[in-house]
Structures are given as C-alpha cells and as structure tokens.
Symmetry: C3
Subunit: 300 residues, 3 copies
C-alpha cells in the first residue's frame, strides 16, 4: 500500500484504521488481534486511537490484543490523542466535559496511553480539539519532555484551524506532522475554511475522520444526500466500483493533499472498500460531479 | 496615464480594458482594431482576456484585429486566464462546468491563447478561479515551463482568498503578480475578507472586475442601490463629475492598494468615464460617505 | 501588582484604568487626581485614553488633574488612540463619522493628545479602528516621525483582525505592542476569529475593553445572561469572591494570553473588584463552565 511521509523517520499507510468504536464491536482479544493482522495484511499499518475512545477503555482493549503478539508493534504506527476530559464513571472528578491541555494533563494522559496500549512509545500524539484556554508554553514543555524521553516520536493536532496550527507551531521546536479533521463528500468545511490549503502550504498531510460522513449518506433522505447517492452511484459505475463507499474513499484519495482516510469499521469487507479505492483513477470531471452534488451549486 | 508596477519588468496601465463581452458587440476586425487604438491613445495599454470569454472565441477575435497591426503588440500588455472548463459546443467533452488546473490543461490552454491572440507571449497568465482540486505542484511545473519557454512572462490568480494565494505561492519559484477580484462600491467583499489587506501586505496590486457592479447600480431599485445612487450623485457634484460611473471609478482609484479597474465596454465614451476619474481627488470623507451608503451602517 | 511586558522598555500594569467615561462622572480636577492616585496605590499604573473620549474632552480633564502633580507622570503609562473622526461641535468640519489614518491626521491628533494630557510623550498610541481606506505607508511615516521625535514611545492597534495587524506590521520598522479588543465572558469573538491565537503567536498581549460586557450582564435577562449570572455566581462561591464582577475579571486574567482588562469606573470599590481578581486561582474546569454558559453549548 501507498505510504505517506510525515517526517524523515515517519510514514503512515495511506489508509488508516480507527478504533473509535472498538468497544461496540464486542470483540475478545483474539478477535481484535485478528482484525489488526487482517488490516496489516492489507497494508494498513497505522492505527488511530484517543485516550477517551470507548469511555477511556479502547486503548486498553487494543493493548491487550497487541500483547498477544508484541512483534507486531514495530511494524505498525500508533496514533493517539489527549486534551478532552469526559464526564465518565472512569473520571468522577469531571463535573462537565471540557478541554485540558495543561502540561500536567498531557503528560499524565500520554503515560496512561502508553500503559493501556502496552507499548514503549506512541508514534504520534495529537491534541484532540483546539482548546480556547490553551497555554502553548505548557503544551510545548509537555511535548518536548515526551519527545526527549522517547515516549512520543511526533506530535500533531486534530480539528485545528490554520490559525491555531500556526500559533501552537510557533511555540514548538519541531513541526506538527498532521491535522486530523472531518473530511468527506458531504462535509467540505476543510476545503472551504482554508484547512486544506494550509495543509498543502505547510506540507502537512491531513487525516480524515468520518470519511463516509458517519454513515448518514446511506440512511438520510434529504435533498443533498439524494443528490450525492445518485452521483456517487453514477461515478461508481464509470469506475467499475460496486459500492459507493469505495467512491467516497476514492474521492478523498484523488485529492493532491494526500488525505489519509480513517476507516472505523470492524468488518473486513468494509475495510476493503477503502483499500480498493486506492486502485481507481478518478478524473477531475468526476471529482467535480461529486463536489457539485454536495454543494448543490455549479462552480462559477 | 499612471502606470502600476507589478514586477521589475512589468507595468500595467492603471485603467485596464476587458474583453469579456467582445463577441456581443458584433465588431468586425477593423472596428476591434479601432477600439484597441482608441484605448491606447487614452493610455490604456493593458487588455484582459480569458480562454473562455465569448464561448472560447474572444481571444481569436482580438488576435485577428491585432494581426492587422502587429506593431501594437510591443506597446501593450496582454493578460489571459485558464482553469475553467465550460460546457460548450467548442468543448463537447465537457459534461459539466468544472475547474482544471492540471499541468496538461494549463499548458494546452496557454498554447491555445498564444495562437488565438496571435502573439509570441502572454504578459500575465492567471488561474481563473481557486480550484478545490488544485495540485500546486502541477501548477508550479506548468508555470515554470511556460516561463522558461518565454511563452508567459508572469503569473497571477483571480478570485483567490489570501490563504489560496499563500498556498500556491509556496510552490512557485517566483511571486504571483496580481489577484483579479470583484471590487466595486456595491461589492465590498474584498475589503471585508482580508483580500485587500493581503494585497497591501504582499505588495500585489489587485485588478478589479465588475468595477461598476455589473451595471446593476443603474437599474436596480433596492434600498442599497438607491442609497448608493443618491450618494454617488452628491459626491459627483462635489467633484464636478457628470456621470456616477466616474465617481465609482474614482472611489476605486482613491484607494491606496492601487486597484486597477477593468473597463469592459466597447464604447469610447464609457471608457473615458474611467480615465476621467484619474484626474479627480476624492477626500477620505467622500470615500466613507460612499462606503456607508453601501454597507447601510455608520462606521463604529 | 503583576506587570505585563510589551517591549524591552515598556510594561503595563495587569489591570488598566480606562477614562472613556471620565466626563460623565462630573469630577473636578482634585477628584480626578485622587482617582489617579488611588489607582496607582492599587498598582494600576496604565491609563487608557482616546482623542475622541468625552466628545474630545477627556484627555484634557485628565491632563489638568495630572498637572496638579506632574511627578506622577514618570510612574504611569499613558495610552491614547486616534483615527476616528466624530460628528461633534468640537469638529464642525466633520459631516459624518469616519476614519482618518492619514499621516496628517495622525500627527495632528497625537500633538493634540500631548497638549491635552499635559505630557511630553505618549507611551503607546493606538489606531482606534481598522480603516478600510488605510494607506499603511502614511501610517508608517507618521509613526516613525512621532517615535523619532520622542513624542510616542510605542504603537499599537485596536479592534484589528489578525490580517490587519499583519498588513500594517509589514510596513513598520518596529513591532506593534498591543491590540485592544472587546473581550468578556459574554463577548467571545476574539477567541473565535483568530485574534487570541494571533496575539499568542506574535507575543502581543491584548488589552480588553468592556471586560464586564458593558454592564449588561447585571441588567439583561435573556437566556444567555441568565445562564452566565448563575454560573458566575456558582464559580464565585467556589472561589470565595463576593461579586460576579471579580469572577468576570478572574476569567480574563486566568487566560494565558495575558489579557489586560480595562476598568472604566470612577468608583474605587468597583476598581478593587478587578484587583481582587488577581489573587484568585480559577481552575480550567471553572473557566470552561463559564465558557459553556456563554456559548450555550457543551464543548465537543
């Protein structure tokens, strides 16, 4: 599978597997291990976590599976996140959901992720959401300490605007390697608010969450969704793709910003719909047919 | 006429003539030549084209007129654009209107413009619209090749946001020399979205399309238009200008960003309304009277 | 009191006193002097003016008080502003309210401020509002001249977007030292439009005008205000602060951008509500409770 270079010593697989809903699949650790190995056989070597996924439980579920076959660790890249505090029985001290990007919380959360994932290092640690109360000096101190200790190799952000990326970057002695944002045929914000341009300008390949628009494209019946379904179907036929999932992935993969879709499924056949999209060559005209179906407006 | 310097070896006339509607004037090539010469006698030496104007025909109409007197070429600056693909009997392969800023399309479109305009070089080639599917590496390759071949002297953009200008610029080995955007007394977006500030910051003089708001200022009767008509009339009387067209041009010319209005008329008397505006000195108070008539709100 | 460093040779007191409404307090010059001295005893050494405050009268009222005890001058920092022209009996030539950032007007306004404030120098002169008709070369000429003459030590802006700050900065041979913007628990724009990030990125501490939301928080009864009142009360109890004014100040002071609230009151007990806020330590969770009460939405 195509690799995307994020730093001199770091590449991601173009398709990434996301563990957001791992706990909902009710897999035992052998089943999780099988899923990991099936992904890796497809060339998907990058796995996306967050401290809070599955009510703070998913990292540990993954870690227990990985512990069954520790030799896999060196063949994969692990991404996780911190900075959100959930209201949770696991964290009774949180009265509300809020953000915490203090040095103390970043260090504590990273240590926790290392323990839960049963690994010595995280490949990339992301700040999960832009924190209006962020002290960038504290973030820089925490990042620098984790890097020097060898606990985290690289750092990135998620859901940040270009201004927020630039601000945080100005406090760091090393570049941020990715911005994980929502991008899909039905969620074009990243193209419209300067995020994609900023990623291209700074040579920061973005990770795309909800690359299938959270599945609503299959179930909703509003005008926009109907337009998209029809156009995805038509383009799919032109490209000999049987599933519109693959067309949606192909639309992201076509783009020059090297968008890396995060596939959040526990089913192999759905994961393959993403990898199959790597083999098709969408034309610019097809790309714009889908763009126009999404916006509902011809281009000027 | 005042010249605006865009690069060491390139200046535009402050007033530019635009050929967008050339085909609608039903001029024969002698009449087109006469128009060109009349413009040049007024000091208007810069002519604005696009590959698609007049259903892909206007460049050739202009080129045939220029061929009657090729010596004019070295005394004028030719601007043209590429990147939009129209649904047209001239391009039956286009199923929809879409953007194409691929290396292949830019090179092909530029070659076509050279042939149609009957010239050896284009002074400035613009990307017509920001392309959400743009691969800036391809644009950079095409631009560099055209420059090295002597076919295009300089490059610019049109309708780009500051973020889009910065992104593309980061891939180019030379600066973009202009951004052609819509600016008029009734279309203030460029002042409100950071475009004018960005042009000032980067010392990129903008070209203004629809400097008379597409003529709607003369025909519409909504509140905003009525406010503008009244204020333009009043300021015109203070400045001894008989036509509000001239007041609208003077409002643009007053601004320190060195806005270059594109006059898209085939009638000499209308073109003169722009050049006459060069001779008046609008005060800041008058400029704000018009600004306030446009926004409908006092300044804070 | 905590000082905030704005330049090598300039620091402001963390709390600033604002003279916007000085004329409405009906103080004689002894009373104004007493207010100044009471502020300075609290550690408030920075005083915020504008040429136009009090219908162009407040600077002179302050200056007459200062003249009673000129030795205070070297212990305080004076900020004033220019660039707005009011419709006023004091300026009969103004037909409308508009902006003027011409070299001529900046120089004249600064001279006037020096005379009215009865001082030899202004510590910081601000452009009061972003002027869509600004010629940054003229501003740079005026600023440079005033600095070289020793009449103004440093320069800043007010109500500028990041793009406007960057643009003007690109014409200046020295950095802008502050951006005075509206920030309060009920006015979060500066957090949402990139202003706070830009201040953090450029290490420009912002001054906050209307830090108590113009007092509407005490009198309005819309849903947002009721939510804020309730939450400010609750957090106040947790922090042992008796007045929600202090909680609002503490919310601003908690933020790492070094926001400097401008207290615009003539009453000592109200001014103390700000200085008292310096002594409390708000938690991140408390800060977000107030943020959420203001936006009306949980964080994602």
């Amino acid at each position: 599978m195509q690799k995307v270079k994020l730093a001199e010593d770091l590449s991601f697989s173009r398709i990434i597997h996301g563990l957001w809903r791992l706990n909902s699949w009710n897999f035992n650790k052998d089943e999780i291990l099988r899923l990991i190995e099936e992904c890796m056989e497809l060339g998907i070597t990058t796995f996306d976590h967050a401290d809070i996924y599955g009510n703070y439980q998913n990292e540990a579920l993954f870690g227990k599976a990985l512990a069954l076959k520790p030799s896999l660790r060196e063949k994969m890249e692990l991404v996780t996140k911190c900075g959100i505090k959930l209201v949770s029985d696991q964290r009774p001290e949180h009265e509300i959901q809020y953000y915490d990007t203090s040095k103390e919380h970043i260090l504590k959360s990273a240590e926790n992720s290392l323990k839960n994932l049963q690994t010595d290092f995280i490949d990339v640690l992301l700040i999960h959401r832009p924190d209006p109360d962020m002290d960038p000096e504290e973030v820089a101190e925490a990042f620098t300490m984790l890097k020097e200790q060898g606990k985290v190799r690289h750092f990135g952000v998620s859901n940040f605007t270009p201004a927020q990326v630039e601000m945080l970057s100005s406090y760091l002695p090393f570049p941020l390697v990715t911005n994980q944002v929502e991008i899909s045929v039905s969620h074009l914000h990243a193209f419209q608010d300067g995020t994609i341009e900023h990623c291209l300008q700074k040579r920061i390949p973005p990770m795309a969450w909800s690359p299938l628009a959270g599945g609503r494209i299959f179930t909703d019946s509003d005008e926009k969704t109907l337009r998209l379904q029809k156009t995805l179907q038509e383009v799919g036929e032109e490209l000999a793709l049987t599933k519109i999932d693959s067309v949606m992935y192909a639309w992201l993969l076509h783009h020059p910003a090297k968008i890396m879709p995060i596939v959040g499924s526990g089913k192999l056949e759905r994961i393959k719909m993403a990898t199959e999209a790597l083999n098709v060559k969408m034309t610019r005209q097809q790309w714009f047919k889908i763009w126009i179906a999404s916006t509902g407006e011809d281009v000027a």
